[in-house]
Amino acid sequence: MLEVEGVHTYYGAIEALKGVDIEVREGEIVTLIGANGAGKSTLLMTICGSPRARRGQIRLRGKDITQAPMHEIVRQGVAQSPEGRRIFPRMTVLENLQMGAMTAHPDNFERNLGRAFELFPRLKERQHQRGGTLSGGEQQMLAIARALMSEPRLLLLDEPSLGLAPMVVKQIFQVIEQINREEKVTVFLVEQNAFHALRLADRGYVMVNGRIAMQGTGRELLADEEVRTAYLEGGH
């Protein structure tokens, strides 16, 4: 599904990604964990074309998308719920979802909208409220629902559990699992909440300072001594 090969990304002179290799196969849930500033969000954004990879290649179902225009990438079946959620604050919930549906076939809109409201009933109640006035958790739900409106094959999620109450975190993780099982959406998940993420994921990567330091199945990484001390201590 997704292959990232030797990708280097810079912010000016700062090298944020120093040769990253990652593979996500069709139907998998793959997670990426790492400390603050490791470069996780940079990787997700580089996959979508902003910032651009300066070296290396990104392929989607075999097709090179490294230099594809940013607005074309979603048409290849990639949707992202980015860091900070980036809800359009002065648009209603419904309008935010309509924005997500822009590249999907208009005939499917009602069905996809119904599905989104089924996954997140809160959004249905608040559909005419402005995005900027939603609570953090509601904004997170909206960001995921908006990404799903484009009918993606690959869903990129950047810290969907950040700042949310344990109940909401649980709900979000359930939805991720449901999307993956029922709709065969491949998921690439960036998480600080390493315990939850690794339990859910088929495989995982650990990023340290712009490089992949470790990889394995979710189970292997959960059992790994280094991972436990660095990312799980005091967790769950």
Binding site: M70, R86, P89, M99
Partner: protein
């Protein structure tokens, strides 16, 4: 009272024209955060287009006035919009991502270029247009014989502006194009992630702004009957003031600001002094910038993101 009413009519007419121009300032500011100083000159180009297409309707033998005006409007909008698109493409787009000051200087340069370009092509002297719409309605008559007059042309200007503004508000609030436009205003990266072609949306913004300014240009030419290559400067500054007064970035604000500036100017020239009518508009700009820089309808940025 009668005199007051007459100034109300005159002020609203003038305000409608400023409002149409102000929309272009406010939309461009909303989407790329730049004051397009060449926008007043786009309006001036629209005014010259009116004369050019008037001559063409004459050549084509179109004598029925409503049709002639319609042809002038549509063609002026199309050609002025092309200018708007071209200016964005060549003077601003290459500078996107560089410092704000660079684009601002480019805009000022573009403004000077357009004025000189029209001066070279059309000459420096004023261009007249023969009156096309005459007559009007006597709304009220004072004992001493002063008549409050609402001309047919004023009715046309106000009705057309109202229709355009309503249509335009619907476009922005209800259509997919409008949503894309608003999405780019709020978060360009996110809009692109969802599949919006941001460059194209910015181009469309310039095209719409220029088309509305062209309507203002045609209306002014019909209204005053004379234009020259320099009219864009003052009108542009006043429309900019209107946009700031209404709250820059707010489309409703631009319309309201335009009407207010028109009214202020009309009453100022009626009751104080005609010579200093421009001072009134610009004093307001200064006062607004000092006391309420976000304008009447604009809001200071306090949004949860």
């Amino acid at each position: 009272m009668e005199y007051f009413l007459q100034q109300l009519i005159n002020g609203l007419t003038l305000g409608a024209i400023y409002g149409l121009i102000a929309i272009g300032y406010t939309m461009v500011y909303g989407i790329i955060g730049m004051i397009n100083f060449a926008h007043g000159d786009i309006y001036m180009i629209g005014a010259f287009m009116a004369i050019i297409w008037f001559l063409v309707t004459g050549l084509l033998g179109i004598t029925w006035v409503p049709l002639a005006i319609l042809v002038m409007l549509v063609l002026s909008m199309i050609f002025t919009a092309t200018y708007g698109w071209t200016i964005e493409r060549f003077a601003y787009k290459p500078l996107r991502g560089s410092q704000r000051l660079a684009a601002l200087i480019s805009a000022i340069g573009m403004s000077i270029f357009l004025e000189n370009y029209v001066q070279l092509l059309q000459g420096a002297r004023v261009k007249p247009l023969q009156p096309m719409v005459q007559g009007g309605i006597a709304v009220m008559e004072r004992a001493d014989g002063f008549v409050v007059n609402l001309s047919y042309l004023q009715i046309i200007i106000m009705a057309l502006t109202l229709a355009l503004m309503l249509g335009f508000s619907q476009l922005i609030s209800r259509t997919e194009l409008g949503r894309r436009q608003r999405a780019c205003e709020q978060d360009q990266t996110m809009a692109a992630l969802l599949g919006v072609d941001v460059d194209r949306t910015i181009s469309i913004t310039f095209v719409i702004g220029a088309a509305l300014a062209a309507v203002a240009g045609v209306m002014v030419t019909l209204y005053y009957g004379v234009i020259d290559f320099y009219i864009g400067f003052l009108a542009g500054l006043k429309a900019f003031t209107a946009a700031v007064l209404g709250g820059i970035g707010s489309i409703t604000g631009a319309m309201v600001g335009g009407l207010l500036i028109g009214l202020i100017e009309a009453y100022w020239s009626a009751y104080f002094s005609v010579e200093y009518k421009d001072v009134a508009a610009f004093s307001i700009l200064v006062l607004v910038l000092i006391f309420r820089p976000y304008g009447i309808l604009g809001k200071p940025e306090i949004e949860k993101v």
